[in-house]
């Protein structure tokens, strides 16, 4: 994190991200938007996408303290990005924006299974289609 960058205490989404969040919530897999938001961060982390570009037009959605009360979110980001993490809040915001987009596309547009979207191997013999 550069000395000029300020540590983020809130995170949000761009309109596109918000739209993606709405779509994801429509799948009814998530109890709250915050849950979807955090899952989207994990999806994005897993996708190893480029999050170097800062977001424009972000609307605050959550307080970082509420989003990550136990610090696990920051810890995970740090474990992936290490010294590159910089401001974990900012990084989380960009990850969520990207992750929600992925999820919305896969869940709704591609009608992929949740576990597929989450990257959980579908090796279960109890699959309904099987």
């Amino acid at each position: 994190m550069s000395p000029t960058e300020r540590v983020r205490v809130t995170v949000g989404l761009t309109p596109a991200g918000s739209e993606a969040l709405t779509k994801v919530m429509s799948t009814k897999w998530f109890a709250t938007e915050m849950d979807a938001y955090k899952v989207a961060i994990a999806v994005a982390l897993r996708s190893e996408i480029n999050v170097d570009q800062p977001l424009v037009g972000v609307t605050t959605k959550f307080n970082m303290g509420s989003l990550d009360p136990d610090g696990k979110l920051v810890a995970l980001i740090d474990s992936v990005f290490g010294a590159r993490a910089g401001d974990p809040g900012a990084l989380a915001e960009r990850l969520a924006e990207q992750g929600l987009g992925i999820m919305a596309t896969k869940l709704l547009d591609h009608e992929e299974r949740l576990t597929d979207v989450l990257g959980i191997p579908s090796d279960s013999p109890s699959s309904p289609e099987s």
């Binding site: 109890a31 709250t32 849950d35 961060i41 982390l45 897993r46 989450l118 959980i120 191997p121 279960s124």
Partner: protein, 659 residues
């Protein structure tokens, strides 16, 4: 009763066997037995009494022991046996009564004696237990005093002249027995028994009638209850038939919708299943939501595990390198020390020449490796840090649960979809049919079925009631059949017996009075025949058969002599014999002892008419054969004399008329 023969053996003064023939014709009824005082006249009297009743009394009226009757002479010679046989006739039957006693040694009491009695009637033995009753029936002990007359025991006859006292009841009973009253009393008793039986029967009938009425009422109630139950059953049956008809009608109506009925039921089932699946989906989805809220990092589990593996590998490599570095440092220390002193501290050999060159080369090599040691420590720290951070996200079970949760949700949604499709299909098929009407009909059908089942249960219940009621009724009817019928004869019978009892009681009282009057008249007639005092007009007999002498003015003479008491007693004995239903012999022991010559003559003249058999046991002081026998002229059937054998033994000899 008429005596035939008396046989005595070792009885009183009669040692050995002694027979007295007593059989005399009625025309000559008198048997005279002469004997002086102490010879054995009373022993003959006692022998007859003892043989008849196994008892006799002394002159004071006390019962004598049997062993005291045994001959002393016989006992002295060791003959501990005594026997008396009395042969007699009664009511055309011949009897032989034998009574014996035997002792093992000279008896000091009756306890030492063995008694044996036998009675033969026309040659046939009478059972031992019946002997006493049979004898009593012939000559009851209570009336014996009037036949076995002992003038020396006058006191018992004088009692008859006394005012009614303690013994009057006994006397009266005895006299009434002679007169045959007990037979009538027995008849009355029998009559009363019959009346009591009739009364009991009547009571039973009355009770039975009451029970009958009660049973009839109960039967009526039971029949009413049964009829009510039958009515209920009929109603239930009617209602069941109505319900059955309803069900049948509805079934017929439904039959036209039979094809769609199944669809209706399936649609209802499908809709229900849909509702259930929605709920199932909600539950499964909720679980997934909970899992995602807590395990939002699930997508990172796989990368985290890879990173963890890398971190662990880095830690392992760094650790290995650090250990190698430590070993190198130790070697450097040893090699530098050896190089400095040209001597090996381990093997203590000198280092020189080419060896030293190798050592220097080795030291350089080791120092070169040490240059990367810091990097190894940094790598170890980095690895440990990464491992610590990533371990919190290593949860393979979360993935498994999430996967199962999604499967459950998707499966439920798939089922819902399938059900929805089926529902749509069914709804399409039912679109043109009156589902509401079918449902209504089905509802009515169910109601009818339910009603039928209820009615069947009630019918079964009432049938049980009916069976119970019918059983109860049957029991009552059986009981009624067992009851004796209301027989009007029972009350008539009781009335007749009651009336007869009353009549009999009155007749008995009259008969008793009449007998008393008859006895009184006869006794008075005899008394007048026997008396010498003309002032004594006659006898009066009261209700208790108490005797009183009355004068010419019918006044009771208060005080009479002992001789007149004897005459009064003889008058009564004569009167009783004349009035008695049962005639018997009269045995008179010392009958004239208290009588003066005038009375003796009169009595001697009277005696042949006293009974059909009269045994007079007399001593010379009271009867002089030459002087007095003429008064009995032609009436003596047999005359015997007791002869002295020793001071305590006698024998009997026929001395006069033989019958």
């Amino acid at each position: 009763m008429k005596l035939r023969r008396l046989t005595m053996e070792n009885f009183g003064p009669y040692v050995g066997k002694h027979e007295i023939d007593l059989d005399v014709p009625s025309s000559t009824p008198v048997i005279l037995v002469h004997g002086e005082n102490g010879r054995g006249k009373t022993s003959i009297y006692n022998a007859i009494r003892w043989c008849l009743y196994q008892t006799t009394t002394d002159r004071q009226g006390r019962e004598r022991s049997t062993h005291s009757l045994m001959s002393y002479d016989a006992l002295d010679i060791g003959e501990y046996f005594m026997g008396v046989t009395l042969e007699f006739e009664h009511d055309g039957d011949e009897y032989q009564l034998e009574r014996h006693v035997q002792a093992a040694r000279r008896p000091a009491s009756d306890a030492a004696l063995t008694f044996q009695t036998s009675l033969r009637q026309d040659g046939h033995f009478v059972p031992g237990e019946e002997i006493a009753d049979r004898i009593a029936n012939i000559l009851h002990p209570s009336i014996a005093r009037f036949f076995l007359f002992d003038a020396e025991m006058l006191s018992q006859y004088e009692a008859l002249v006394d005012e009614p006292g303690r013994d009057t009841e006994l006397v009266r009973n005895s006299i009434e027995r002679i007169l045959g009253l007990p037979a009538l009393q027995l008849m009355q008793a029998d009559l009363r028994t019959l009346r009591t039986a009739a009364e009991a029967k009547q009571l039973t009938t009355v009770k039975a009638t009451k029970r009958h009425d009660s049973l009839v009422a109960k039967i009526q109630q039971s029949q009413d209850a049964l009829a009510a139950i039958d009515g209920d059953l009929q109603s239930l049956q009617d209602l069941a038939q109505q319900a059955e008809a309803e069900r049948s009608a509805v079934s017929d109506e439904l039959r036209q919708f039979i094809d769609v009925q199944a669809d209706v039921r399936e649609l209802e089932s499908v809709e229900e299943q849909e509702r259930q699946e929605v709920e199932a989906e909600k539950r499964a989805l909720e679980q997934v939501k909970v899992m995602l809220a807590a395990g939002w990092w699930a997508p990172m589990v796989a990368p985290v595990r890879e990173r963890l593996a890398a971190a662990r590998a880095a830690i392992a490599a760094a650790t290995a390198n650090i250990q190698a570095d430590a070993t190198d440092r130790f070697l450097i220390h040893l090699l530098e020390h050896a190089a400095e002193h040209d001597r090996c501290d381990i093997c203590e050999q000198a280092i020189a020449g080419p060896t030293r060159g190798k050592l220097v080369s080795r030291l350089e090599e080791l120092h070169a490796r040490l240059k990367t040691a810091n990097d190894q420590h940094q790598a170890l720290a980095g690895g440990v840090k990464a491992q610590d951070a990533l371990q919190a996200f290593d949860d393979a079970d979360l993935l498994s649960r999430l996967r199962q949760g999604e499967v459950d949700v998707r499966r439920s949604r798939l089922r819902q979809h399938t059900l929805a499709n089926r529902g749509d299909e069914l709804r399409r098929r039912l679109r043109d049919h009156p589902k509401a009407e079918i449902s209504s009909l089905e509802h009515r059908l169910n109601l009818a079925g339910e009603r039928i089942r209820t009615l069947q249960a009630k019918t079964a219940e009432r049938r049980l009631d009916r069976a119970q009621q019918a059983s109860e009724l049957q029991g009552l009817q059986k009981e009624l059949q067992k009851l004796p019928g209301a027989d009007p004869r029972t009350s008539t019978e009781f009335a007749i017996y009651s009336a007869l009892d009353g009549v009999f009681e009155e007749a008995l009282s009259d008969f008793r009075s009449q007998l008393r009057i008859d006895v009184q008249d006869e006794a008075s007639a005899i008394f007048r025949e026997l008396r010498t005092e003309q002032g004594y007009a006659g006898l009066r007999i009261n209700d208790q058969f108490g005797l009183q002498v009355v004068d010419l003015n019918d006044r009771v003479i208060g005080e009479i002599s002992a001789g007149y008491s004897q005459i009064v007693a003889l008058s009564l004995v004569g009167a009783l014999n004349r009035c008695a239903t049962r005639v018997g012999p009269v045995v008179m022991d010392t009958p004239f002892g208290r009588l003066d010559v005038g009375h003796r003559e009169r009595i001697l003249r009277f005696i042949p008419s006293l009974a059909h058999q009269v045994i007079l046991l007399v001593q010379s002081g009271e009867l002089d054969r030459d002087r007095d026998l003429r008064y009995l002229a032609g009436k003596v059937g047999r005359e015997l004399t007791i002869q002295r054998v020793s001071h305590q033994s006698s024998r009997i000899e026929a001395t006069g008329v033989e019958a």
